[in-house]
């Protein structure tokens, strides 16, 4: 029963994403787009067509990871923790609905909606810059969503009390910690070598990104590592939701 009910509730979750999270993403995208377009417009009289194209690609490279990072954080910040903290869960889960399934669906809808919104944004910006729409950029955003989103989902599911306000911060700190620890491990720090495998493989996003920008298939190992890490964190989040008490 729960699955059928949740399928019918999906449009409401998509609507929640759009109004509560999608609009802030669009605002940030518009800001990036405006800065990029402004920079290009200022150079139009000074650079030739090839130089302009190279500049457009360079600017493009700088905004895609930013959109992916902010988009993912905005899509998942407080996804579970806010409902638990504010008490919204009480009416939701007195209904014949499973909490883990409800939030898993919400995670999927937010990810897909983020993909659609960023694809639209990238398309509009590409038209303004006069370059073909780089569809891979939306794919990169989705990869980022799965890789970083899994750990935000886990942090949100496991949050207790006021800590729930900072689920995105905890996840982002771990994400950044993944890069720092990897660097220290490369420099021979023994503790970093031990800790690094447990932390997010955030340092591998660059390998995938460079391949996508170059128009070649992304290397399998970093891709699988990122997706697997995100998926494992997401599944852990679902398991935590199955067994944790919803009320404090």
């Amino acid at each position: 029963m729960s699955a059928r009910i949740l399928a019918r509730y999906a449009p409401w979750q998509a609507r929640d994403y759009l109004f509560e999270r999608g609009i802030p993403v669009l605002v940030i995208c518009t800001l990036f787009g405006w800065l990029t377009y402004g920079a290009m417009a200022g150079m139009r009289g000074e650079l030739g067509p090839e130089a302009l194209r190279q500049l457009a690609v360079a600017l493009w490279r700088s905004i895609v990871p930013q959109v992916a990072l902010f988009g993912t954080i905005l899509a998942l910040n407080g996804i579970v923790a806010t409902d638990l903290r504010q008490g919204y869960f009480r009416f939701h889960f007195a209904k014949p609905v499973s909490a883990p399934a409800y939030y898993a669906q919400s995670y999927a809808i937010n990810g897909l909606s983020l993909g659609v919104i960023t694809l639209l944004f990238f398309h509009v910006l590409a038209r303004l810059l006069g370059i073909p729409t780089p569809i891979w950029a939306a794919g990169y955003v989705l990869l980022y969503f799965v890789a970083l989103g899994g750990i935000i989902f886990l942090a949100s599911s496991a949050s207790v009390s006021w800590l729930g306000r900072f689920d995105w911060l905890v996840a982002s700190a771990l994400w950044a910690g993944g890069v720092v620890t990897h660097e220290l491990a490369l420099r021979g720090q023994r503790w970093a070598r031990l800790v690094a495998p447990a932390l997010p493989p955030s340092w591998r996003t660059d390998d995938v990104f460079q391949a996508l920008v170059a128009g070649v298939p992304p290397p399998t190992e970093p891709l699988v590592h990122l997706l697997a890490y995100g998926a494992v964190c997401f599944l852990l989040g679902v398991i935590v939701l199955r067994y944790r008490p919803l009320a404090a």
Partner: protein, 306 residues
Amino acid sequence: MIVFRGAGKRYRPLFRAPVRALDDLTLEIVPGEILGIAGPNGAGKSTLIALLLGFLAPTEGEVRIDGLPPRRYVERHGIGYLSELVAVNPRWRAEQALARYATLAGVPKREVRARVDRAVDELGLAPHRDKRVRALSKGNLQRLGLAQALLRDERILVLDEPTHGLDPLWTQRFRDIVAALRRPDRAILIASHNLDELQRLADRVVILDRGRLQRIVVPGVDAPTGRATYRIVVARGVEELPAVHPGAVALGRGEFELRDVELEELNRVLAAVVARGALVASVVPTRSALERHFREAVGDGAGDGR
């Protein structure tokens, strides 16, 4: 239908001593019954309800609904639930919130509109249906909470402080609604500080204090023990009552108070007064039978927020 068997809940805060919120509760709630739950603040009422809905797991004993753990029962069948604090996303509009809850409750798509309209009409929310939840008054928010609990014909209804914030007219209306909800296959639990409400509605009232079941009272059947104070209105022959019972305190306009008397003594006084030609208009205990049970069960510390 609902069974608590030695159920207990102990909280273990990080830097404080463990708190026993509910201790060794054994209770059975049968279909067709309206069960009241009373107790001072911190008595364990909210914990009992959270255990029943599966929002918390018992640390001792077990809770079963139709033989299933509560969470599994709720995920399969749902429970009509009104929480003490009505928490609905403030950005939602009232009607939209009800449509969402009807969908989550499993109301068939073609019936959602009709169920929402019925709930809106029944709870007098028509003038507020397009308002955002954050714009609703406390009473209207409470009615919205009650409306969402009644969207589907659940076999179990749990109403936590249902008349909190309602005006006297809606409090009466709520009682009528609950009376109409009584059904042989439905169990209704009402947790309330309003003992008068429980006295009127409930078949049994469970009195909790400090996490323990103190007493189960059947209103109207279980006469409280001990002495009580009664207010008597005499319509004719006002002078007869003080003559029969010199301790009667005159309150004016034919109204008297008989303080601290046994039931037998009260009846003897009344019989004598009537025999002397007086006409007694009403006899009302200053505290309801349930209230006296409550005071006996929890002592003078009732409501002190322990």
